[in-house]
Each structure stands twice: as structure tokens, then as C-alpha cells.
């Protein structure tokens, strides 16, 4: 069948729903998502859709310099413009008057967050906001921005990663010293060395020298990757309304409205309980909408003006100031013996953190070698400050970069030993009991099952004929995050159940969580009414991210559902005048254990609640200790145009151990979405920066992300190795799909061209350069 949009042949004759069976009544089925109709008809309300009487609009003035002291900010001309109601700078945040920036305390440090939102004394990246205006129209706000005068003392900047690590690099933070073991991992030892390297983390095991001596083949390579953006289609948007009783309500696009509450309260030095945050529907986040950028600004401007204030980032502002993920430099040396067992691995990872510490290099250091049983290893990881926007999480943060390096070296080792690429991976694959680089033993995991599924899939051995075509494979790992979640369930008279959780729904978690509660209650997914509660309506819940939501918020909903069942059983016992212990519950029906002819369905009993003691509801929280981990794999076929360097994806199959798919369609969607993001990261996406730190491609026209017209269908294979830490065996699924694509595509390009790509992106220009083709030559040199 020809794909009409590009004429390429598809390998399938018709679009098929992946054949999938489930042992559960609700879990594993594919009901229509509860929020689907609102979203496809445009009725869903997003952050920028908020409008109200008296609404003011905010714009931000941003630094034109990557590194400069702020000498003076003069707002007098701007304040004279009719329609301008207030202007604030970083020093207007109360926290900046009482706390200093603390570079050793990064996680959740509100003072550091305030500095990232609005600079006080110094700008640290081009685009760093220095002032915010509230005006009656966006146009007047923009005019006011243009009339704020800022005097800067320009400082030398550290833009390039490796240059920033050098001894004579300009220091982004003059008094920052390198911490061994790092601020992310404990204060450790302060080396006393002033540097742009904020921290050094190390994992070591066995005897590296001995391991390399036992190697019959050794591969050593350097790699580099550029910053890429999460590319969420909806920019950040926030509206705040300060009330007469000194409370504030914020409507915002965020992955973590409880985090917005906490950060705003801390930055404005007000109690948390006076801040109500209402999460709007969200148009993507992928980790980039966990930090705050606008909410404290809108809240303070609303307080000053007495009017609601709204701010929406432009796409340019999103790129330039709302954290991308880290660019990186990596060096890898690995050895294997003649039988194909990996004997030694030595890794050096340096990741850009941006203007403040905390890149995901630590995650990269842990995840890089986890898929492989390696006894002798040394991993050194460095967190590096540069004069660029502070990086933010992006789907399995830190792991894709490291996997790009490791998985291509693994491929090369297998080739040198003339061992099948998957056979090599399988014989080195980890299983239960094997230890990760940080020493923690793995529980039951599906690494081997994923690789076996890949090897037995028709794609792996399908013919691939013709010049310039190649096939590549790669494996990915991500550790997932458990966190804390809350859920409240309430039974309606008609037997439906309200399910209120604290988790913003980014990728179908609303139905996935509701389905888990439905499974417990013997109801259908359609009987559940899931809602995302604001910060006043439900208990504290950690961000939607970290592949935790269907898992942990699901457990919270299950716990609440079990409480509901207990209460319903008590009510049935009351009606039947028996002991609660004599009430049985099966398939949504309560049965009188003493007289089994007597039974009530859940819905029948629900209809009697208000007249037999009152409504039934229950709340529960979850903070699971065992969040489980997940492995995935890719097989990809590519064709490389030797004249243009363009790489076309011909066929792509993504495999993943999902534990137990709550809603297979949304699990498949996560796999496909993460894969596509990885493809963009591999082939196109990068921050083009000028020497002064200006992003030159800050629009979707020039920052080229793959669309549905660029790619074939991403086929998915769900491998299910149930996770013992979840009642239904779920594993987090949202992040790991982005981990292997860059390596898989690089390996496929090698198969097609004989060229090992070690830099991302593998854009047409990079391919041609690797092939030795210049503008003046017509063939590889």
C-alpha cells in the first residue's frame, strides 16, 4: 500500500489495532477517553483561554545579553504610558529580600526559582527576564516593555560546554566551587576549586584495568549532542487573581499545580493555603512544564494592580527561556571478550545544566549501563553551568544522551566479534538480582523479554534490499519515579463514581486511573467520572511526570476504591441486617453470604445510599516504595539519500515492557510519541546558537520537529512482565520510549552507509560531512 502523502510503501496492508488480550474486565480494554470529545471539538479549556472582566495582560522584558550585571533598571518612561498599570522586577519578589541564591541546594529551592523567573542583580542567559509589565492590552504591555531602560555591564560568557569546563573559562557564578558527589547527591566534598562544574558524581565497580585486560575487542569513541526542546505545542500560560482577602487564585498550564502553589507561596512569602491553583487542560509538557515561569509574576502583578493578570509565552520565549534539555559531551570506552561478554566500561559524561545547577547527568550515569551486566566499570558524570537557559526535564531526562553513546558502542562491539546485535545484547542482558551501577539490585524486569520479542518479530528478519538502506536496533532503560498521589472517590446515586485526583492529565492518565478504580469496583470505565482537582479539592500530588501517574495515582485511586467497597459492604450489611463479614462482592454485585438469593448490584445499592445513612465517599493517598523500572527496544529501517544526506524512516517498531497496560491505546500512544520525539532529536532538532548565545532558530519553522507527514506508522509491541509493586502489575510507560531512537537510527545509518555518527543531530548536512561530501564535490571523498 502506498502512503499517499509521500509515495513510500507501507509494510502493512491496513491499519490494525494491535491484537491485545487482557485478563481483566476493564484494565487492558480501550474505552473512549473521558476528555476526548471536549478536546477534539475545541471545548476543552487551556491556560490561554482564561478571560474575565478587568483582565490585564503581562509581557516580559528579557536580557539581550548572555551574561551581564544589571546596573540599573529605569521604568519611568514605561509607567507614563496610558494603560500600563504596574511594573515589577526581580527585587520585588519578597524572597529576594531575605534569601540568597543557594547553588548547593537546587531541588525545590524557591530563591533559585525566583532568580530564574526574574533576574535581580545579574542576567545569566540571553532571554533571562528582568522586568514584567501589566497593562490593559498585550500591545500596550509590549510598548511598555520597549520603553524600559536597562543599563547592563556586559560580562564574558561561557556558552560552549567544553570551553565552560576549561580552567580559564569565565565563571557564570563567581563563587561556585565544584562539589564531589555533587549538590544533587549530597554536599559531599567541596573541592574548593572555583569552576563552572557544579558537581561531580561517580559510580565505580570491580577492577576496570583487569576488565580491559580481559577484553579481546575494545571500542572507544567520543560523542556530542545539542540542546533540544520538549516542543510542547501549547506555550506556558498563567492567569492570577489576587482577592480582597489576600488569597490568590491561579489558572495555569502546568504538570504540577501543587508545585506552582508551593513555589508561588515561597517566592511571595505567603502561606501556601492562601494560594489556589487550578490546572487547565495542558497541551503537552514532557517535563518542561514542571518549573514555574509565569505564575509568581502574574500573582504579584495582580496584587499590585487589584486586577487579574494573564501572561502567555510566545513560541520564541518558550525556546529561549523555558528550559530545553542538556547538550552533552560523552566519552565511552568498552571492552568485550571473544565470547561476547562485556568485560569493562569506562564512561565520561558532561551535561549542560544551563544557568543554574542540576542537569540530568546523574540519571544518565545510572541508566547508561543498566541494561547490561558489567562487573568492571567507572562512570564519571559532570554537571556544568553555562550561560544558557536553565535546562528542564525532558522525558527520561539524561538517559537518551547516554543511550546514544552506549548503544552505538555495543553495536560496534558486536560487529567486531561477528555476533548478532541482539544475541550480543541478550547474553549481556540484566535480569532480577543483577545490580545497577549505583549498586541497587533489579527486581523482576523485562529486559530479556523485550529483546527476545525484538528478535522474534518479523521486522528483525524482514528483507531490506536496495542501496543506501540499513537496519538498526537499540535498547533503552528508565527508572521511573513513584512519588506521592492523592485521590478522592464519591458514589453518585445512579451508581457512577466521581474520581478526583491531583494529577494533571497529559497523556490519558485520567481514564487510565479511572479504569483502575473501576476494576476494583466492578464497574465500567464509562461509570467513572474522572476530574483533575485543584489544590483545594484533593490531597497533595506530585507532578504528572516521571512515568508515575498511571502507576502511583492509580494506586491512590485503587486504595480509595477499596475503602468505598468496605463502606458499601457495610451499607449492604445494614440493609440485610447481617454482619459486614458476611457480605460478599463479586463482579460488581454484593451478595448476602447467608442467603445468596439476596444480592444488590453496585448501582442498585448506590441508589439506596441517601436514604440509608447518607452518601459514601473515600479518600486515599499512595506513596509506593517500589515504583518499578522499564526497558524498551527499537528496530528501525532507514534509507539515506547520498546526494542530500536526508534520512528517511522506512519502518519503525517499538517494543516495551509495560508491566500491564491499563489502556493499551494510550500506552501505544506514549510509545509512538516518545519514539517520534527521539527521531526528531536524532535527525533534525538542535539549538542553533550564535557566539553571543542567541538562539537563531526559535520558531517551529526553523526548529524542525517531525510531523505525521514525515514518518510511517510507528508499530508497537507491548511486552508485559507484570510489576509486583502494583496491584494490577502496571509499570510507568511514558518516558522510556524516547531513550533508544537516536542510537537505533545511528546504527541503521551505519548499516546503510558504513559511517558511524557520533554527533547529534544526524541532519542532512552532518551526514554529508560524514560522507565526505562538500559543496564542491559530487561524491564521497
Amino acid at each position: 500500500m502506498k502512503n499517499k502523502s509521500n509515495g513510500r510503501s507501507s509494510h502493512v496492508e491496513k491499519l490494525e489495532v494491535h491484537p491485545y488480550t487482557t485478563k481483566y474486565k476493564v484494565i487492558g480494554t480501550r474505552p473512549i477517553r473521558h476528555d476526548g470529545l471536549a478536546k477534539v471539538t475545541g471545548q476543552a479549556r487551556y491556560g490561554a483561554d482564561i478571560n474575565m472582566p478587568g483582565l490585564l495582560h503581562s509581557k516580559l522584558l528579557r536580557s539581550p545579553h548572555a551574561h551581564a550585571n544589571i546596573v540599573k533598571i529605569d521604568t519611568s518612561r514605561a509607567l507614563k504610558i496610558e494603560g500600563v498599570k504596574a511594573i515589577i522586577t526581580g527585587t520585588d519578589f519578597p524572597i529576594t529580600k531575605h534569601q540568597n541564591i543557594n547553588l548547593t541546594e537546587v531541588l525545590g529551592n524557591a530563591r533559585n526559582q525566583a532568580e530564574n523567573v526574574l533576574a535581580t542583580n545579574k542576567v545569566l542567559f540571553k532571554g533571562h527576564a528582568v522586568a514584567a509589565v501589566a497593562a490593559t492590552t498585550p500591545q500596550i504591555a509590549q510598548e511598555a516593555i520597549n520603553n524600559i531602560d536597562v543599563e547592563y555591564e556586559i560580562l564574558p560568557s561561557a556558552i560552549d560546554l567544553k570551553e565552560a569546563m576549561s580552567d580559564n573559562a569565565p565563571l557564570v557564578h563567581e563563587n561556585m566551587t565544584t562539589l564531589e558527589l555533587g549538590s544533587r547527591f549530597g554536599k559531599g566534598t567541596d573541592t574548593g576549586v572555583k569552576s563552572n562544574i557544579s558537581s561531580h558524581l561517580q559510580f565505580k565497580g570491580g577492577d576496570l584495568e583487569k576488565g580491559f585486560k580481559e577484553s579481546s575487542v575494545i571500542v572507544e569513541r567520543e560523542y556530542s549532542t545539542k540542546s533540544v526542546h520538549q516542543g510542547y505545542i501549547e506555550p506556558q500560560a498563567s492567569t492570577a487573581q489576587w482577592h480582597a482577602d489576600n488569597t490568590v487564585t491561579i489558572w495555569t498550564s502546568t504538570q504540577h499545580h501543587f508545585g506552582v502553589r508551593g513555589a508561588t507561596a515561597a517566592i511571595l512569602e505567603i502561606p501556601e493555603h492562601v494560594v489556589t491553583v487550578i490546572p487547565m487542560e495542558i497541551g503537552g509538557g514532557f517535563g518542561g512544564k514542571i518549573p514555574v515561569y509565569l505564575d509568581p509574576i502574574c500573582a504579584l502583578l495582580s496584587k499590585k494592580t487589584g486586577s487579574p493578570v494573564k501572561a502567555v509565552l510566545s513560541r520564541k520565549e518558550v525556546f529561549e527561556s523555558a528550559g530545553p534539555t542538556s547538550g552533552s559531551y560523552m566519552w565511552v570506552k568498552m571492552g568485550a571478550d571473544e565470547k561476547g561478554y562485556v568485560t569493562a566500561a569506562h564512561l565520561y559524561l558532561a551535561y549542560e545544566a544551563g544557568a543554574f545547577p542540576r542537569s540530568p547527568v546523574g540519571s544518565g550515569a545510572v541508566t547508561a549501563l543498566t541494561p547490561y551486566k558489567v562487573d568492571n566499570f567507572l562512570v564519571d558524570a559532570y554537571d556544568v553551568i553555562v550561560n544558557k537557559t536553565k535546562v528542564s526535564a525532558y522525558r527520561a531526562p539524561g538517559s537518551p544522551q547516554a543511550a546514544f553513546a552506549i548503544e552505538t558502542v555495543i553495536d560496534e562491539l558486536a560487529e567486531k566479534l561477528n555476533i548478532d546485535k541482539l544475541d550480543f545484547r541478550l547474553q549481556n542482558a540484566v535480569k532480577e538480582g543483577d545490580r545497577m551501577p549505583n549498586g541497587i539490585p533489579l527486581q523482576r524486569v523485562g529486559c530479556i523479554e523485550v529483546e527476545q520479542a525484538m528478535q522474534s518479530h518479523p521486522h528483525y528478519n524482514a528483507p531490506l534490499s536496495g542501496p543506501n538502506k540499513g537496519r538498526g536496533v537499540a535498547i533503552g532503560y528508565w527508572g521511573n519515579f513513584g512519588g506521592q498521589s492523592s485521590a478522592t472517590l464519591a458514589v453518585n446515586s445512579n451508581g457512577t463514581v466521581n474520581v478526583i485526583t491531583g494529577s494533571v492529565d497529559i497523556g490519558g492518565t485520567r481514564p487510565a486511573v479511572a479504569m483502575q478504580a473501576a476494576e476494583v469496583l466492578g464497574l465500567t470505565a464509562e461509570d467513572m467520572i474522572p476530574t483533575v482537582g485543584d489544590t483545594n479539592s484533593v490531597g497533595y500530588t506530585d507532578p504528572t511526570g516521571g512515568s508515575r501517574t498511571a502507576f502511583t495515582t492509580g494506586i491512590a485511586a485503587i486504595n480509595a476504591a477499596r475503602k468505598i467497597l468496605n463502606q458499601m459492604s457495610d451499607r449492604a450489611a445494614l440493609l440485610w441486617e447481617i454482619d459486614s463479614s458476611d457480605v460478599e462482592f463479586t463482579d460488581g454485585v454484593f451478595i448476602n453470604g447467608n442467603d445468596k438469593k439476596l444480592h444488590l448490584t453496585f448501582k442498585e445499592l448506590a441508589g439506596k445510599l441517601l436514604k440509608t445513612g447518607g452518601p459514601i465517599s473515600a479518600s486515599a493517598s499512595a506513596s509506593p516504595r517500589n515504583e518499578g523500572v522499564t526497558f524498551c527496544g527499537n528496530i528501525v529501517d532507514v534509507e539515506v539519500d547520498p546526494e542530500t544526506g536526508k534520512v528517511d524512516i522506512l519502518r519503525y517498531t517499538a517494543f516495551q515492557d509495560v508491566g500491564q497496560a491499563a489502556h493499551p491505546s494510550y500506552v501505544e500512544g506514549q510509545m509512538q510519541g516518545g519514539t517520534v520525539q527521539g527521531i526528531g532529536w536524532a535527525l533534525n532538532e538542535e539549538y542553533f546558537l550564535s557566539d553571543d548565545g542567541t538562539m537563531l532558530n526559535s520558531s517551529f519553522l526553523d526548529y524542525r520537529m517531525p510531523t505525521s507527514l514525515d514518518l510511517p506508522m510507528i508499530d508497537t509491541v507491548l511486552v508485559e512482565v507484570p510489576h509486583a509493586g502494583h496491584p494490577f502489575g502496571l509499570r510507568g510507560v511514558g518516558e522510556v520510549p524516547i531513550v533508544p531512537p537516536m542510537a537505533a537510527i545511528s546504527n541503521a545509518i551505519y548499516s546503510a552507509t558504513g559511517i558511524r555518527m557520533t554527533r547529534l543531530p544526524m541532519s542532512p548536512g552532518a551526514i554529508l560531512e560524514a560522507l565526505g561530501i562538500t559543496e564542491t564535490s559530487k561524491s564521497p571523498q
Binding site: 529551592n109 558527589l181 547527591f185 518542561g288 541497587i440 513513584g482 518516558e735
Partner: protein
């Protein structure tokens, strides 16, 4: 007497005379860290701040599971404890 085993990251082995795995007595993480510091002075300051909380971004995993109870996390005689980073996600 059975004691919990604590795995020491390589950059902290300067406190433990290069020992990677040490045996420490204690029924909670607080007791483990206290006794660890008695045996290897200075290591507590790496892990705990002045408010008796884990330092930024650090936590301990007990028997393979990330600690959720902080210093009051119970520890058994045969527990295996790892000092790890707190991974989040995106």
C-alpha cells in the same frame, strides 16, 4: 549480631578507608546514619542537613526500594542500604 549493610558510593569511600560495603547496626535510617558517623566521622554531614533532612537530591534506598519515610524509615537486621540520588523525571 546481624547488621544492615550499607553500600558507600565511590566518592564517599574517602570516609570509610576505601571500604565499599560496611556493616552498621540500627533499626531506622536515623540510627544507621548516626552509627555510620561514629564509625566513619564526617560522613553524616554529607547526607543530612542542619534540619535533620536528607541533603538536596539525596536519599537512601532500603532493600531496593526508594526511602519514603526519611530518617524514620525502618531497617531490618538484614537490610541492604544504598545512598542514591533522587531521580525525578519529565
Amino acid at each position: 549480631m546481624l547488621m544492615a549493610t550499607v553500600w558507600i558510593p565511590s566518592l564517599l569511600q574517602q570516609f570509610t578507608n576505601a571500604e565499599e560495603i560496611v556493616s552498621i547496626q540500627g533499626k531506622t535510617i536515623r540510627q544507621i546514619i548516626h552509627n555510620l558517623d561514629i564509625k566513619y566521622p564526617g560522613i553524616k554531614d554529607v547526607l543530612i542537613d542542619e534540619h535533620d533532612n536528607f541533603k538536596d537530591g539525596i536519599t537512601l534506598a532500603v532493600d531496593g526500594a526508594i526511602n519514603q519515610l526519611g530518617l524514620v524509615e525502618p531497617v531490618s537486621e538484614s537490610s541492604e542500604i544504598h545512598i542514591v540520588q533522587a531521580i525525578s523525571g519529565g
